[in-house]
């Protein structure tokens, strides 16, 4: 009876990744699934000037000594940002040149994922715990190659994998968002992508659909209402459904045992869509809290129990 721990949208938070790697032992789970959007959204420059460093954290700009830099870097990583030491000249160069900035971003993200793969190998080798990662729409395509090189972490994207008596299909692609991220496509294309995997599933009643984007109007896809300028509307209190109709149709058509989602951090929940239990554990990566779902699978009952946790 495999016990699965699912978490998603860590967005570069090293504290959450470390917790994720420890979740197997903590919750007695044999399977760890990371649902996507592993990489961070921001670089925080730590600028070397004369004998000190300057860094902006939140609203404050701070001066720190060299000895304090490791602590500052840890604090930045905890929030899911990438700390990067640089000279003042390099800072202005990145500020002025979007291409160089994009290259810099890609490098720190891939380095970050590579380091995470190393941590996974160190932590989980020999434990018998399987770990799956499926990059999400915010993760650049090159992230997949870094994961493929890992000898311990299994890449989930675009394939069917067996988990005991159960099977799992995964994709981190989503419908279009206002941010034009790396793995977005039309609902039609997303539907075809899911269908290509779903038709390989031998038994939907023992299938896990690990689809980063939540189903439309499921209650798992309520995102803050924003205007065309990406500005929060109505004081940041109004929500609207932004999930995928293709994901919803796939769930309604195939009725897998369970579907696992992320993408919309605010929309934590567990709902039934027909026979399918659909879960979005939410994300509070910037607080260093790992929101996740524990699912106890049972070959006869399907799902013996499930629980959303804030680890």
């Amino acid at each position: 009876m495999p016990k699965v721990f699912f978490a998603t949208d860590l967005h570069g938070s090293e504290m959450c990744w470390r917790k994720f790697l420890n979740a197997g032992r903590f919750y007695d789970a044999e399977i760890l699934i990371c649902g996507g959007d592993m990489t961070g959204k921001a670089i925080v420059p730590i600028v070397q000037e004369n004998s000190h460093y300057t860094v902006s954290l939140g609203a404050d700009r701070q001066q720190v000594e060299a000895a304090q830099v490791p602590d500052v870097e840890a604090q930045i990583r905890r929030k899911g940002y990438y700390p990067l030491q640089m000279s003042l000249e390099r800072l202005h160069e990145l500020d002025a040149d979007p291409v160089k900035r994009a290259e810099c971003f890609q490098q720190v993200m891939l380095d970050g994922v590579d380091r995470w793969m190393g941590m996974a190998a160190e932590k989980l080798r020999g434990t018998g715990i399987r770990i799956f990662v499926c990059p999400g729409n915010d993760d650049e395509m090159e992230v997949d190659d870094v994961i493929r090189r890992s000898d311990l972490v299994e890449l989930g994207e675009g394939r069917l994998v067996e988990i005991g008596d159960f099977t799992m299909i995964s994709t981190g692609w989503s419908n279009h968002t206002p941010w034009n991220t790396h793995r977005e496509e039309t609902e039609e294309a997303l539907g075809e992508r899911i269908e290509a995997m779903a038709k390989q599933v031998p038994d939907a009643s023992k299938a896990i659909f690990n689809l980063h984007c939540p189903p439309f109007k499921s209650g798992l896809d309520e995102a803050p209402a924003i205007d065309a300028d990406l500005k929060l509307m109505h004081g940041g209190r109004a929500l609207r459904p932004v999930g995928s109709t293709a994901v919803r149709e796939a769930i309604e058509r195939h009725q897998p045992l369970i579907s696992l989602h992320g993408h919309i951090h605010e929309s934590k929940g567990a709902v039934k869509i027909g026979k399918t239990l659909s879960i979005n554990p939410g994300s509070s990566y910037e607080e260093g809290m790992l929101m996740g779902a524990i699912v106890q699978l049972d070959p006869k009952k399907g799902i013996k129990s499930y629980q959303l946790v804030n680890g």
């Binding site: 902006s56 941010w179 109007k217 004081g235």
Partner: protein, 555 residues
């Protein structure tokens, strides 16, 4: 890949952060929009005038001083909540903060009691406000005295409860985005109405008002001539009179629990959505709540001064005393010649001798109710969903219908008990004190959150140290703990007065209100029972509720 750079404040030439384009990364909300939400929560007209109609019970309490003092003290609560938002910005308000800092069981019991069980009581309170500020004055003004009398009777109150419940349910179904648009329209039209009320009270004299009141008391209510003086005379049987200029500090303090009825809620719905760069910055949530509070304080000060000038303070308080003392069957109380709640908006309308204008003014000012009352179930729904996702409540409690996205599970859990409570409110006057306690129970929930704030820097050191408020200290003590202690003492003072005031000033003293004590003890016991049963049942299902908030080791 589109991306952007952002500078730290005051260092525009030097970026403090490089952001890439990533899902959910949004620009900050307008402080004005957030202000509107906060402003509605401490609704000057709907809640404010209703709550302040009880301050006649403290005749020596100088109301302006009381309002200003309350504003200062609630500012500490606003700072406390803004700091909590800053540390845990998108985690669901009181339930999440209490659960994470104080523990899951305690968090559940306190929040479920405050934001679920107590909200049953607010439905009839809202309904009564709807009657006294809308149905009743409007019907009398239009000459429909039969309709007016129906709504002031037991069945009328119950029907009003059903209307409120239906309205709140529709808003939950429509969602906050649609309702926010309705709120905006109500906000601007309501402000115009308030401006008209203020201008009327400003340009007319007290003699004009006395004449207008006497005229309309006869025209609309069939009262004999001289109703203005007759109202004061009726009140004098149980009320010694009140002077606006009297000041004494002790009575000002005794006003605070009454003022809490409307001024305690600028932090209502402190939850925020959306990942804004700098959302952990304390200033945005602080300024929205602070502005909502102090704009209301300023406006209520103007309204109170105008009431004193044109309506007359002693008359206004006498009218309140005569109405409530007669309704509560206080010994020797005499019914006033105008038998409905003294609504200053209706009084201002009397200054224009035109019933269509008067009715229009009441309708326009009624938007203060309809722009506000729709949020009745929003917090409750959120707490019920959170408890269902935590598996403390059955999963159906968080179900929503596929087509119209109606959260029918949560609505059933709110509406069915609310109908029962509404019937008790309408048909069992013995239970009045239970409803007067509705403010106190929410204050207790706030107190638990302030305790969570006070101990946060030690109890959740990891969260606190990583937050932008970690550097806010006064003589080495975390500022969140200091403002939390001040807020806590303020709340404790009011809770003491509500519970133990020797004169039962607020109608809620424990020794005088056994029904109320039984009700609230029952709600806390019920919350504990639900939690304990859930733990046992879930344990059998292989689910350990204790681990919901257990932190996974990092190393």
């Amino acid at each position: 890949m589109a991306d952007t750079t952002m500078g730290a404040p005051g260092t525009a030439a030097r970026p403090g952060l490089f952001l890439r384009n990533a899902t959910g990364l949004v620009k900050s909300w307008s402080t004005f929009d957030a202000f509107v939400y906060s402003f509605w929560s401490i609704n000057l007209i709907t809640l404010g005038l209703y709550g302040m109609s009880y301050v006649y019970t403290v005749p020596d309490g100088q109301l302006l001083a009381g309002i200003l003092l309350f504003g200062v003290l609630v500012t500490f609560l606003v700072i406390t909540y803004a700091m909590l938002v800053s540390v845990m910005p998108r985690t669901g308000g009181d339930y999440a903060w209490q659960s994470r800092v104080l523990g899951g069981g305690l968090g559940f019991v306190l929040s479920i009691t405050g934001w679920w069980f107590t909200l049953f009581l607010w439905a009839p309170i809202y309904a009564n406000i709807l009657v006294v500020q809308f149905f009743s004055p409007l019907a009398y003004t239009l000459g429909w005295s039969g309709v007016a009398k129906f709504f002031t009777g037991q069945t009328g109150i119950f029907v009003s409860c059903l209307i409120v419940l239906a309205f709140a349910s529709i808003v939950v179904t429509l969602g906050m985005e649609t309702y926010a648009r309705i709120q905006k329209a109500c906000f601007w039209i309501g402000l115009v109405g308030l401006a008209v009320v203020c201008v009327l009270l400003l340009v007319y004299s007290q003699t004009d008002f006395q004449n207008a009141f006497n005229r309309e008391a006869t025209n609309l209510f069939g009262a004999p001539a001289g109703a203005y003086q007759a109202t004061i005379d009726a009140a004098s049987k149980t009320f010694a009179g009140s002077s606006f200029g009297t000041f004494s500090f002790g009575p000002v303090l005794l006003l605070l629990p009454w003022l809490a009825f409307y001024l305690l809620w600028p932090n209502w719905g402190a939850t925020l959505y959306g990942e804004v760069r700098g959302a952990k910055d304390i200033r945005k949530p602080f300024w929205s709540m602070f502005a909502g509070l102090w704009v209301t304080v300023a406006m209520v000060a103007v309204v109170v001064l105008l009431i004193n000038k044109t309506i007359g303070w002693n008359f206004y308080q006498s009218a309140n005393a005569a109405y409530w003392n007669s309704l509560f069957a206080v010994k020797d109380a005499v019914a006033p010649p105008v038998p409905i709640w003294p609504y200053p908006v209706m009084f201002a309308g009397f200054l224009v001798d035109n019933h269509i204008f008067q009715a229009l003014l009441i309708i326009v000012m009624g938007l203060w109710f309809f722009g506000w009352a729709g949020t009745l179930f929003l917090s409750s729904t959120r707490v019920i969903f959170a408890a269902a996702f935590d598996r403390v409540l059955p999963s159906w409690a968080a179900n929503i219908s596929a087509k119209r996205r109606v959260p029918y599970g949560a609505l059933i859990l709110m509406i069915v008990p609310s109908i029962v409570i509404s019937a008790i409110y309408a048909y069992k006057p013995d239970f009045t004190s239970v409803f007067l306690d509705a403010t106190a129970v929410l204050a207790l929930t706030f107190l638990a959150t302030t305790v969570a704030a006070i101990i946060l820097p030690w109890r959740r050191k990891d969260l606190y140290d990583a937050s932008p408020i970690a550097n806010y200290k006064i003589v080495g003590v975390p500022m969140i703990s200091i403002v939390g202690v001040i807020s806590g003492l303020f709340l404790l003072f009011m809770l003491y007065q509500w519970s133990f005031n020797p004169d039962n000033l607020y109608g809620t003293s424990l020794q005088s209100t056994p029904n109320s004590v039984k009700y609230f003890v029952a709600t806390y016991v019920a919350a504990i029972v639900i939690y304990v049963v859930a733990r046992v049942v879930r344990k059998r299902q292989g689910i350990d509720l204790a681990r919901i908030h257990h932190e996974i080791p990092v190393e």
